[in-house]
């Protein structure tokens, strides 16, 4: 039992050491995007995607884009040094509420943390809140 606990402790220390080395070598990457890179990413995830209206968050870490073909609304958001995309349809969202220029989104997908996306302009947030209601 003592041997097993020692093995466990050494393994955990090994994991911590390797993560520490990774942090030392690569730092903590923060991905940012612009409308072009968000469109590129969605074009990969949604074959044939054609950008319609779009809005970039103030911190350049999230973007909401509309597919011009069918009006579907998508979110592209940074996670680590990469991005995750999700469709923002009625069945995908638990709630979408607005507070000034910020949109607060809660997702049906429990692996997707609630997100608050702050835009530069309140009218942008209002416009997308309405679009999501229709999507």
């Amino acid at each position: 039992m003592t041997d097993q606990l020692l093995y466990l402790a050494i393994s955990l220390a090994g994991v911590a050491g390797m993560v520490g080395l990774c942090a030392l070598l690569f730092g903590r990457a923060v991905a940012t995007l612009d409308t072009r890179s968000a469109t590129q990413r969605l074009s990969c995830d949604v074959p044939g995607f054609r950008r319609g209206n779009s809005a970039l968050s103030a911190d350049c870490r999230s973007a909401i884009l509309e597919d011009a073909r069918n009006g579907a609304v998508y979110l592209v958001t940074a996670r680590g040094d990469g991005f995750v995309t999700r469709r923002l349809g009625r069945s995908d969202l638990k709630t979408a509420s607005r507070d000034g220029a910020a949109l607060a989104l809660r997702f049906s997908d429990f692996t997707f943390p609630a997100a608050t996306i702050a835009f530069h302009d309140e009218s942008v947030a209002r416009d997308w809140e309405a679009r999501m209601g229709r999507a």
């Binding site: 393994s11 955990l12 090994g14 994991v15 390797m18 993560v19 080395l21 990774c22 942090a23 070598l25 690569f26 730092g27 903590r28 990457a29 990969c44 995830d45 074959p47 044939g48 958001t77 996670r79 680590g80 040094d81 990469g82 995750v84 995309t85 999700r86 069945s91 997908d109 429990f110 692996t111 997707f112 943390p113």
Partner: protein, 299 residues
Amino acid sequence: MHFDPTQLATPAFILLVIAEMLFVRYAGRGRYEVRDMATSLIMGFGSVIFGTVFGFIFVWFAHLVMPYRLMTVAWSVPAVALCFVLDDFTYYLWHRSAHRIRWFWAEHVTHHSSQHYNLSTALRQPWGGFLTIGFVFKAPLLLLGFPLGMLAFVGGLNLVYQFWIHTEAIGKMPRWFEAVMNTPSHHRVHHATNARYLDSNYAGVFIVWDKLLGTFVEEDEAEKPRYGIVKNLATFNPFKVAFHEFVGIAKDLASARSLRDVVGYIFAPPGWSPDGSRETSDAIKARWAQYRNAQSPAE
């Protein structure tokens, strides 16, 4: 005979991950991200714990099957070699099922959940094997008479082989090697979510299984693989990574309205839904092919 190749190889795994990190940092080929790597290592660590705690289920299952074996194969070099090749074929079958049957995918999705492809990804191992009981794929080998210890040994060798192929640091291996063996290039295709690469290259050690059974896809220099899953996870939480698809199945079953729905939610390919509102990999590939043909009708 108690000889665990995986345990013996662990120091080499650690040294190779460190070497690859240094290579990526200074040569700029490949990617590492701290939280992603931490998740992968914790998943690897946790899989050892889960394997230790629930390993008895496999042993129990083996002892249920073994009395019906056709013969008893004795330990010898040719027997181990034959067992290794046959075990790799059962790995292929399991792996193919793990991508085509949602129940097995619920476990295996863990390994594909990183958007990075480096040696630490190899260690991102599932915790839910005790739920899916994928080890039933080993039953034919037990029935043929291979001893349980030999199966564990060759299974360990298979796992050790698959470690080094999780890298972007190596381009292509010599042509003869690429023809027969699973390589970083072949396995990059397997981990890719690009429509053209979906559901291909299931091999563990010998890529010939894919070539024989029509699931081989060559890496295209013009289309760099994008790694991860069709609906990438937005979390690094190891418990969510390990069990999210099981939760998804449970939620779907709660909303099932017929026996067909129940069977489909468990055994149909990932992405299946009764009303077709979600997309399976076949549907994604069909949509992609349609889009590509529309873009270049002459091709």
